[in-house]
Symmetry: C2
């Protein structure tokens, strides 16, 4: 008998908590959407099945809302879901930084928090970028002059936070302490 027991849900998925499986699913959804052209929730449902996730359209609707995924007309006639970061087509060759990456110094975790150091005066603008994207994994931020305190949602791992932020903060991973 183990001290740390694992559970199976009624749907047969391995889980330590509902929270955990939900976060996993959200991450997979993000990947699926950015890799494939997904035109409907039913389509996404099938892709998720192939990844071993069994769920329903209702849940997907909620997930997509949580991830702030937009549905937009595709150039090729149909529709496609897009992640909040993908909205502006990246790298047109000349594309300057939309994000003030230059101001970013470091990011380091402690517990369910991260401390982000910036160049003096940059904390607010960077924090407001984070806030405006409102990633699911982030509970909130407080910015001083050169430091941001970021509180992550319970049950969310550090890689989850890093991945979520990286979507709109290019080069973030290089700043990890």
């Amino acid at each position: 008998m183990f001290l740390f027991a694992a559970f199976y849900s009624k749907r047969g998925n391995f889980l330590f908590s509902d929270m955990k499986i939900k976060t996993q699913r959200l991450n997979v959804i993000r990947q699926l959407i950015s890799d494939n052209k997904v035109g409907s929730q039913e389509e996404l449902l099938n892709l998720l099945e192939q990844e071993g996730f069994s769920t329903t359209q209702a849940t997907l609707s909620r997930d997509l809302k949580a991830l702030k995924v937009a549905k937009r007309p595709d150039i090729e006639g149909g529709y496609a879901y897009v992640l909040p970061e993908d909205n502006d087509d990246k790298e047109d060759g000349d594309g300057a930084d939309v994000f003030p990456v230059s101001g970013l110094e470091s990011i380091e975790f402690s517990g369910n928090m991260a401390v982000i150091k910036t160049r003096p005066g940059f904390a607010n603008s960077i924090a407001s970028v984070i806030d405006s994207h409102g990633p699911y994994e982030v509970l909130g931020t407080i910015a001083g002059d050169d430091t941001i305190l970021l509180i992550s949602k319970e049950g969310v791992s550090r890689p989850d936070v890093i991945n979520a932020l990286s979507l709109f903060m290019p080069g973030l991973k290089k700043k990890l302490v």
Copy 2:
């Protein structure tokens, strides 16, 4: 009896052609969406009524598709339509140019075409920006090294083209010859 007759449609709208009224409506839709927070097509329908446009949900669905308007979850729980350019939240204070505006020299019309002059080597990147946004009013572009030829859709006026391009080409109006 006049040589140039004006017509009224069965719906009582003044028009010289269906094309004309459609283009007008598309422009108004763009404005309404960027000014107000519009959460559904029915809502948009009402706003359009107030602007003097009488139409149906079916037409709006088609219009929004033509304009490549996306529907995305709003920060405040609901949903909101967003123009293809608005996708990234504007002016966070530090916002650098996403668009290579610096390369733009001039734009001048002739017939249903416009000739856009750029700094040497910029034509392609600028044209690809235009193409990637795929505005309704633009039929297509051809880029050389420092010149772009833009063909506008029939029935579309010059201001229509300018307005459409201005949405993602800041400062364009100043370059008008």
